[in-house]
């Protein structure tokens, strides 16, 4: 009996990690990444506003802004992953909705590099805040792939809606959408400053 207990104790204290699988959490990682950008309204409105603004500005901004945003957003995410947290994240995200929404509302036409700079600066905040929220057990790489794809599809949605810019009624509708995004940004800002996060 004593021997059995000793054997049992030995087995319990010296377990060998099973390495039968080289990977894990693929489906969870990809699905979480895909879902994450659309689960936060602040992220959704800003992404769509980038697409809308690009569509209003026309070539080459219509593709340059959606190219700029994911790359700079990923840079912000990378900074977050290595432990560099940007100050005033929620304020920055709220400001992105206000500025981008206002730009759409006003049909602002700055030079291309200014538009890319504005989008790029705000993209860093979005990446820093959202790109690092990996659920436990999920595959990090597939989470990132899902995250980038979802962000790109939100831009595409904005560009698709921006097609309405060709018609006078559509232009007015887009400006109204921009105003809505900016107003949502004001609400986010209120929550960030007063209510503890949007």
């Amino acid at each position: 009996m004593r021997a059995s207990r000793r054997m049992l104790a030995l087995m319990l204290v010296t377990p060998t990690a099973a390495l039968a699988h080289t990977r894990g959490g693929e489906a969870l990682g990809f699905a979480s990444g895909l879902r994450h950008p659309v689960s936060g309204f602040d992220h959704v409105v800003a992404m769509i506003a980038v697409g809308l603004w690009g569509a209003q500005l026309g070539e080459p901004a219509v593709w340059l802004l959606p190219v700029t945003f994911p790359m700079v957003m990923a840079l912000g995410g990378m900074l977050g992953l290595v432990g560099i947290a940007l100050p005033g994240l929620e304020v920055g995200i709220a400001a992105s909705a206000i500025v981008l929404g206002f730009a759409v509302f006003r049909e602002a036409r700055p030079s291309l590099w200014v538009a890319a700079l504005v989008v790029g600066v705000f993209a860093i905040f979005h990446g820093n805040a959202h790109g690092t929220e990996l659920p436990p057990g999920a595959n990090a790489l597939l989470y990132s792939i899902g995250f980038v794809i979802a962000t790109g599809l939100l831009h595409a949605t904005g560009i698709g809606l921006g097609v309405a810019h060709r018609w006078p009624t559509g232009r007015a509708a887009l400006r109204a959408l921009g105003a809505g995004v900016a107003l949502a940004g004001v609400v986010f800002l209120w929550h960030a400053v007063v209510g503890g996060g949007a």
């Binding site: 009996m1 021997a3 059995s4 054997m7 030995l10 087995m11 010296t14 060998t16 990690a17 099973a18 390495l19 039968a20 699988h21 080289t22 593709w63 959606p66 190219v67 700029t68 994911p70 790359m71 957003m73 990923a74 840079l75 995410g77 990378m78 900074l79 977050g80 992953l81 290595v82 432990g83 790109g131 690092t132 990996l134 990090a140 790489l141 597939l142 990132s144 792939i145 995250f147 980038v148 794809i149 790109g152």
Partner: protein, 200 residues
């Protein structure tokens, strides 16, 4: 418990506690090592993404560059694979893979014309690097050399399909879509770099 029973228990316990970790299979299809290697590339985004980006880059530069990369990349992969199996004992994968993914994705996104020699040379360098990393994985998993051939075959098919498709594109919007895909790959590469530096 009898002496025989105690002895059996000790023997069993010794086997259990002294067991080595199960050797990981890179991918098990049930069709043998060639198909395991073939599938391994297709389900490993860390390998597939830079290769896809290279195929997009080659396709954007037309059939001549596409043909050069189509043959240079799998050949370089096989050479690197042999190097990984024979020479290099251990290599960590995430940092070089992430760096290459950012670089090639960024080149696609930028959409600049590059000389044939530069793209082919870059494809060879990337192919050797990825092949070495794959070879180390194969050696670690004690997988058959056929798996390397399977991976190279998959690479050839992927590059030929993607490069051929992109090279035949004429519409401006379609070329822009390819550049956008490049920017997405570069963005994923940046995240890969972050995860690698974080140690995940």
């Amino acid at each position: 418990m009898t002496r025989v029973g105690r002895g059996a228990l000790v023997a069993l316990t010794t086997i259990v506690v002294a067991a080595r970790p199960a050797d990981a299979h890179l991918m098990t299809t049930g069709f043998g090592p060639f198909y395991d290697g073939l599938t391994h590339l297709l389900v490993s985004p860390e390998y597939l993404l830079p290769m896809l980006a290279l195929a997009l880059l080659a396709g954007l530069h037309g059939p001549r560059v596409g043909r050069a990369v189509l043959f240079a990349l799998p050949a370089a992969w096989l050479a690197g694979n042999a190097l990984g199996l024979l020479v290099v004992p251990r290599l960590t994968m995430p940092l070089p893979t992430a760096t290459v993914t950012i670089a090639v994705g960024g080149m696609v996104a930028a959409g600049r014309r590059l000389p044939l020699a530069l793209i082919t040379g870059f494809a060879i360098a990337v192919g050797v690097l990825a092949g070495v990393l794959n070879g180390v994985e194969l050696a670690t998993a004690r997988s058959s050399q056929l798996a390397a051939a399977g991976a190279a075959a998959a690479l050839f098919v992927v590059v030929s399909l993607v490069t051929g498709q992109v090279a035949s594109v004429r519409a401006a919007w379609a070329r822009i879509a390819v550049q956008v895909a490049g920017s997405w790959i570069a963005a994923v590469g940046l995240f890969m770099l972050g995860w690698a530096l974080r140690g995940r």
